[in-house]
């Protein structure tokens, strides 16, 4: 089970994680189009927490005890028992925002672009590797295997330095979903 971890010691607060998250969660997935003045609003699932020279990126940590899913009134928010990924099913979500209230980290956003739906970090599962991690200029974001789940121990670990085209995290899952 993979989750993103932020390393505040090397976070330089540049905010590129936020930029690239917005791009990934835009319709066009193109940086220029996503930020065009008249483009539909884009939403970043990452927020940069900053105070003085301390900073770190905050996005969903794919909690082992997903309060958002526990609180979901329609069953739209679920945690995949195999991958550990917490996802929103937009078709089921009615926009009651209970999940937003439940989330201890405040990383679930409102997406009102096409009807009301919650939106949150999905580890860029369509993309294969989280864009924020890939674009962090200082390796301040890493995606790592959770030590909590012993079942995942056999999977290959992924270090921050080995980014690139070989790093496809969810290729199988993507196939299954389609």
């Amino acid at each position: 089970m993979w989750r993103i971890r932020a390393i505040p010691e090397v976070c330089i607060g540049c905010g590129l994680c936020r930029v690239w998250c917005k791009v990934e969660h835009s319709d066009s997935k193109n940086i220029h189009k996503a930020f065009k003045p008249n483009a539909p609003e884009t939403i970043s699932c990452v927020e940069l927490e900053e105070s003085g020279c301390e900073s770190f990126a905050m996005q969903c940590r794919q909690c082992d005890e997903p309060l958002c899913a526990y609180g979901c009134i329609t069953g739209a928010m679920t945690k995949d028992p195999d991958t550990g990924l917490v996802t929103v099913d937009k078709k089921k979500c009615v926009g009651c925002w209970t999940c937003i209230l439940m989330c201890p980290n405040g990383v679930i956003k409102r997406d009102e672009r096409n009807g009301r739906s919650a939106i949150k970090c999905d580890l860029c599962k369509d993309r294969g590797f989280p864009s924020c991690v890939e674009h962090c200029p200082n390796d301040a974001l890493v995606i790592e295997e959770s030590p909590m789940n012993p079942l995942a121990a056999h999977s290959a670990p992924l270090s921050g330095s080995s980014r690139g085209d070989e790093n496809i995290l969810f290729s199988e899952e993507v196939d299954d979903d389609e």
């Binding site: 330089i12 905010g15 930020f35 200029p137």
Partner: protein
């Protein structure tokens, strides 16, 4: 400044205030132009956050990112970080009137001094177009009569031993019967030269130390002491003893593989150093063993060395203090009589002589000195090596040369001219991100290198930086091996002092004589 607080000490003159009393009135054109492609700009504000010189800002009223080009130092941090490549930094097209004698730089410097009355300060290394003699020497290769060697498959040895060598080896019953002076094994003839903590950030020094450890070579603390965290790299550490004696104490000396006495630095021969109090953070203060916030001043000379016999005294004091366990190096700037000085240093008992050429880097130096004092390392190295050979003492000492080593070919040429190994400083900082903007002295290094500002210093992730340094030195090592193989030799010692492997192009006969090489074609 408030007008009420102003005391009029000269009653004959009426009190008056004008703008130039409290504001520097600049007559300077800005050096750089900032161009922003508004079609590409997504207003993400990364540039604003990345610039420590306040070049970029958000104009809320117009909802646009704008800039103040007069603040720009040309470090290119914003241009590199911009996710849409919307920014380009170029020399300001608005230039002073062209003049064959008075360059724009002269005009600008005069203005700076007219405004402030101060010494023009700069950082990094000499940026003037003095001839780089490395570029005027070409390397030999084997054809037919001896085979070139393929370094990828056949052994190719770069290992070097740093330290004094006895004249001969005595063998008794098949065993070594002579005492060897202390030797340091390094895996390639490349060492990281002295850059102090204070001049550079903790993260950068840590990265350099770790790279030295991984590569099996040495790094040099510079004169800023050894941070307690870095004692664990002691097997790869050269500690410096300089005029300020910052952080010099028995633990420091004994934590090192080598002790280096710093007499001079190529970028600023003959002058001392000055780390501004603002850069003396708590951690720097602990390392240098001086109070926080005070200036750290390195005097120009070492005040216990006014002559060569005093140097001998210090060399042996350090040998005594380290129980003759480590070699003692003496580093000098390349100056006109470097050969004679180096000879004296060898006779004074140094195990290693390091010579630093005038293109060497610095955290801060008066520009007049950086650009005008000293010698190109190529000449100094050739002259020192020749003098030591003529006097029959070359084999007693290890010669390290530094100051402007830019690539593997420079190293090959330096060793053929007589060096045992080279120091690299600026090249290492470039590998970590430095773009040679020369504002090291400002403490506002946008690349997080020459700064103690924690917000900026975080920009160097020491693990990334270490990997980049290791890659650089390994890449150079491969290139050196390729060139050695081309010459048909498989060990670096067979290149040392082999000046017949070099030929000069476009050099005068005097220059060829000094370098001890022939012109190309002969």
């Amino acid at each position: 400044m408030k007008i009420e607080e102003h005391q009029n000490n000269n009653p004959s003159k009426p009190a008056q205030r004008k703008a130039s009393d409290f504001k520097i009135r600049s007559n300077r054109l800005s050096e750089f132009a900032v161009q922003r492609d508004y079609d590409r700009c997504i207003k993400c504000e990364v540039c604003i956050k990345q610039c420590s010189f306040d070049v970029h800002y958000r104009d809320e009223e117009d909802d646009l990112i704008k800039h103040r080009p007069e603040n720009c130092v040309g470090c290119h941090r914003c241009a590199v970080m911009c996710p849409t490549a919307a920014i380009s930094i170029t020399p300001n097209p608005a230039q002073y009137r062209a003049h064959g004698s008075w360059s724009g730089e002269h005009v600008k410097d005069i203005n700076r001094q007219a405004e402030t009355g101060g010494v023009v300060l700069t950082g990094s290394g000499n940026d003037k177009a003095a001839p780089v003699y490395w570029d005027r020497m070409l390397i030999n290769a084997s054809q037919v009569t001896n085979p070139s060697i393929d370094p990828l498959r056949e052994p190719m040895e770069l290992r070097t031993y740093i330290g004094a060598k006895p004249a001969s080896v005595k063998v008794k019953d098949g065993k070594l019967a002579s005492e060897m002076p202390p030797q340091i094994k390094i895996q390639m003839p490349i060492l990281f030269s002295a850059i102090s903590y204070g001049a550079i950030s903790y993260n950068v020094q840590k990265a350099i130390a770790e790279a030295a450890e991984e590569l099996g070579t040495l790094y040099n603390t510079g004169e800023g002491g050894l941070h307690p965290d870095f004692y664990k790299y002691k097997d790869n550490t050269i500690v410096q003893v300089a005029s300020g004696r910052f952080g010099v104490h028995p633990d420091y000396l004994n934590a090192a593989r080598m002790v280096e006495i710093k007499i001079g630095q190529g970028a600023k021969p003959g002058i001392g150093g000055h780390l501004a109090g603002e850069k003396v953070s708590e951690s720097v203060s602990i390392t240098r063993m001086i109070p926080m916030g005070t200036d750290a001043i390195s005097p120009a000379p070492q005040h216990d060395i006014y002559s060569i016999e005093d140097l001998r005294m210090l060399i042996f004091a350090l040998k005594e203090a380290t129980n003759y366990r480590v070699p003692v190096s003496v580093k000098i700037a390349a100056v006109h009589n470097a050969a004679a000085i180096a000879s004296g240093i060898v006779r004074a008992g140094a195990d290693v002589v390091a010579i630093d050429g005038f293109r060497g880097g610095t955290g801060a130096a008066p520009k007049a000195i950086r650009d005008n004092v000293g010698l190109p390392i190529e000449f100094a190295l050739a002259a020192v090596d020749q003098r030591l050979r003529d006097e029959g003492i070359r084999n007693q000492v290890t010669l390290i040369s530094g100051g402007g080593i830019r690539c593997a070919a420079d190293i090959v040429k330096a060793i053929a001219l007589g060096a045992d190994a080279v120091y690299i400083g600026t090249a290492a900082l470039i590998a970590v991100g430095c773009t040679l903007c020369q504002k090291c002295y400002s403490g506002k290094c946008n690349w997080g290198i020459a700064t103690q500002n924690p917000y900026l210093a975080k920009r160097v992730n020491s693990e990334i930086a270490k990997n980049r340094l290791v890659n650089l030195v390994q890449g150079w090592s491969h290139e050196i091996k390729e060139m050695l193989g081309g010459m048909g030799i498989n060990s670096i010692e067979s290149l040392k002092g082999s000046r017949s492997q070099l030929r000069g192009v476009g050099l005068t006969s005097e220059e060829l004589d000094i370098l001890g090489i022939r012109p190309a074609g002969m």
